[in-house]
């Protein structure tokens, strides 16, 4: 796989240039956008592989960009990047269609990894996101409406728990005696459940617990 073409969407110029400088060789930043309007336009024009999307922006924020771009049938992949760790925001953008969520304190190397992973179609979970998912799926007492979508398998739970403990995918693979590819499959499957499960508890849980 060649260079990954990335578009940075963030309303802070300083932050955009900081990310640009930090990203590794294999990432090519093909453009920047600073609000919802320009983001939607630039994405349609440039067709990047991955969009680095800020959650809080004037004009509706990252969720609005997701709604408009993915709503028009585009296949562009999004990685959400934010200073906020509020459950509402995290669960909100993931359910809006982002394939991962990392916080802005992430190191350049880790961000490069995350972008490559999203470009390859996998999901990226930060420890905190993994914690949110475990909490959200565990806190529901009502019987699942759709058992396939509304609950996690034992293996998925184990993988999420290790992510929450700060393990990298490679370390998880070693710990569970499975391949990195299998770890990625589990995480992608959790992402799918998170996005498609229509149990209301997920959103309600997120709003009820404005945890950091």
């Amino acid at each position: 796989m060649g260079n990954v073409r990335v578009l940075i969407v963030d309303d802070h110029r300083l932050f955009r240039s900081g990310v640009r400088a930090e990203l590794g060789e294999s990432i090519e930043v093909i453009g920047e956008a600073e609000d919802v309007e320009s983001a939607v336009k630039t994405i349609a024009e440039l067709q990047p592989d991955v969009v680095l999307l800020d959650v809080h922006m004037p004009g509706g924020g990252g969720q609005e960009v997701l709604r408009r771009v993915l709503g028009s049938g585009s296949q562009v992949r999004f990685l959400a990047l934010s200073v906020s760790d509020a459950a509402e925001d995290v669960i909100g953008v993931i359910r809006g269609g982002a394939r991962g969520y990392v916080t802005k304190t992430i190191s350049g190397r880790e961000l490069t990894d995350a972008i490559r992973r999203v470009a390859e179609g996998d999901a990226v979970f930060s420890p905190r996101l993994a914690g949110f998912v475990l909490d959200a799926f565990a806190s529901t007492e009502a019987p699942p409406i759709d058992p396939e979508l509304d609950s996690l398998t034992q293996r998925e739970r184990e993988v999420l728990r290790l992510i929450a403990r700060g393990y990298a995918y490679k370390e998880i693979a070693k710990e569970l005696f499975i391949s990195v590819k299998t770890v990625e499959t589990h995480v992608s499957s959790v992402l799918r459940k998170l996005q498609l499960s229509n149990r209301h508890e997920l959103s309600r849980w997120a709003t009820a617990r404005r945890l950091v």
């Binding site: 906020s84 760790d85 509020a86 304190t105 420890p127 905190r128 993994a130 914690g131 475990l134 909490d135 565990a138 806190s139 728990r161 929450a164 403990r165 700060g166 393990y167 404005r210 945890l211 950091v212």
Partner: protein, 426 residues
């Protein structure tokens, strides 16, 4: 620099004090003014909450006159039965007498006493009707009915009471409408009853039409102006709330964020200290923005967060905390928190890892805490017997409290401490 910070601080404190003093000062002056102007020892007529039967009027008047409230209650009942004037007097006193301030949950009313007085009233009424004694007094009844109606309407003007009603849920809002309509109906019934009793109803008919036309015309003329006034009032109210919020926000930013930024500038050459200040300010701001008030002495998640925050501050190494689930803190779990603290101290102090991950999970049967670093690691067998950190403070402490601790480490691979504590009752 120092001086600037000093003066700023003073401003902040002043602003704080002013905002906090505002409402309280208003209240005290409101309460105090009539009392002081009324003289020195004169008791003000107030309606006590404790011991009231309906609104505390009889109780209040009895306190004022140093009589037994029973006497006054009977007097009100008798006057009501005779010609309704008792109810009117009661309603008037209810309207104009302030309620005694009362903290906490209001005590319920003694319904058996209310029933007793009701029975007395009914008996007296029956007696009066049978003997024909009170037939002449019926003239005041419409006034009594109208008085009760206007009482209900007036109650809504009492800002305190309205706040109490508005505070609650949507169901309360509907109750408010019911109240208003009930009040209106009673007033109208009272007025018509008054006219009917005095045989004025027929004569009043043309007057009614005339009044309706005039009132309708005035309403049409005044409506746009009133609507504008209402909107303006609402806008002002919103603006005031916004300003108060902004003032609170500014006070907070001033006290914490600006202060930290000043400290960072003064410590610019010490990157570790800068990092520590930035992290601790970030955490504080996040808590303030997003987190519900949590008592760190009450729950596992809050305790883990607090311990991590304290050690992060003490050692300048970022500690990332992820919590899943929560439960109240027991003595055993408090011991576990101390063990977790020791594990964090070790990771932050000796491992050389740039960051520490803490994961706490509360499951129905047990609580698990993981503390992980990616530092130098060590060889467990090489740890001298007298090193208290791991053996005593972590493993020993967990075992003494019925839990267990496992340490996984390898040279160059980092360290992970896993603490487990079973929960009893669940």
């Amino acid at each position: 620099m120092r001086r600037a910070a000093g003066t700023c601080d003073d401003d902040g404190v002043m602003a704080d004090r002013q905002t906090s003093r505002g409402p309280a000062a208003d209240k005290t002056s409101n309460d105090a003014a009539p009392a002081t102007s009324g003289g020195t020892d004169l008791l003000r007529l107030i309606r006590p909450v404790e011991g009231r039967l309906v609104a505390g009027v009889a109780q209040g008047v009895a306190d004022q006159l140093r009589l037994d409230p029973v006497v006054l209650r009977l007097a009100f009942v008798l006057l009501t039965v005779l010609d309704g004037i008792g109810a009117v007097a009661y309603a008037a006193l209810w309207m104009f007498t302030p309620r005694a301030p009362y903290e906490g949950r209001e005590p319920g009313r003694d319904w058996s006493q209310i029933a007793a007085y009701g029975a007395i009233a009914l008996a007296l009424m029956a007696l009066g009707w049978l003997t024909g004694a009170s037939a002449g007094g019926i003239g005041a009844w419409p006034i009594a009915v109208g008085g009760i109606g206007s009482l209900i309407l007036w109650q809504q003007a009492d800002p305190d009471r309205r706040r109490r009603w508005m505070d609650s849920t949507v169901g309360q809002a509907r109750k408010n409408w019911v109240r208003t309509i009930a009040g209106l109906v009673l007033v109208v019934v009272g007025a018509i009853g008054f006219l009917a009793l005095n045989d004025e109803l027929g004569k009043a008919q043309p007057g009614f039409v005339f009044t309706l036309v005039v009132v309708g015309g005035v309403a049409l003329i005044a409506a746009p102006w009133l609507a504008g006034l209402w909107k303006e009032l609402q806008r002002e109210r919103r603006e005031r709330i916004r300003q108060e919020e902004r003032a609170e926000f500014a006070a907070h930013v001033h006290d914490s964020v600006l202060h930290t930024l000043t400290l960072i500038q003064r410590n610019a050459q010490d990157s570790r200290e800068v990092m520590r200040l930035a992290r601790s300010q970030e955490r504080e701001l996040r808590n303030w923005l997003y987190q519900p008030k949590q008592d760190a002495d009450a729950s596992v998640a809050a305790a883990v967060r607090r311990v991590a925050a304290e050690e992060e501050d003490a050692h300048g190494v970022p500690i990332e905390v992820v919590c899943v689930g929560d439960c109240p803190l027991t003595p055993e779990l408090s011991a576990m928190m101390q063990a977790a603290r020791q594990a964090m101290v070790n990771a932050a102090k000796y491992s050389g890892s740039p960051a520490v991950s803490v994961y706490a999970e509360v499951e129905p049967g047990e609580v698990t805490v993981f503390v992980r670093d990616r530092g130098v690691g060590f060889d467990m067998s090489e740890v001298p017997e007298d090193r208290m950190g791991i053996r005593q403070s972590i493993i020993g402490r967990m075992e003494r409290n019925g839990g267990s601790a496992r340490v996984r480490t390898e040279l160059g691979e980092g360290t992970e401490v896993m603490l487990t504590m079973k929960l009893e009752s669940s």
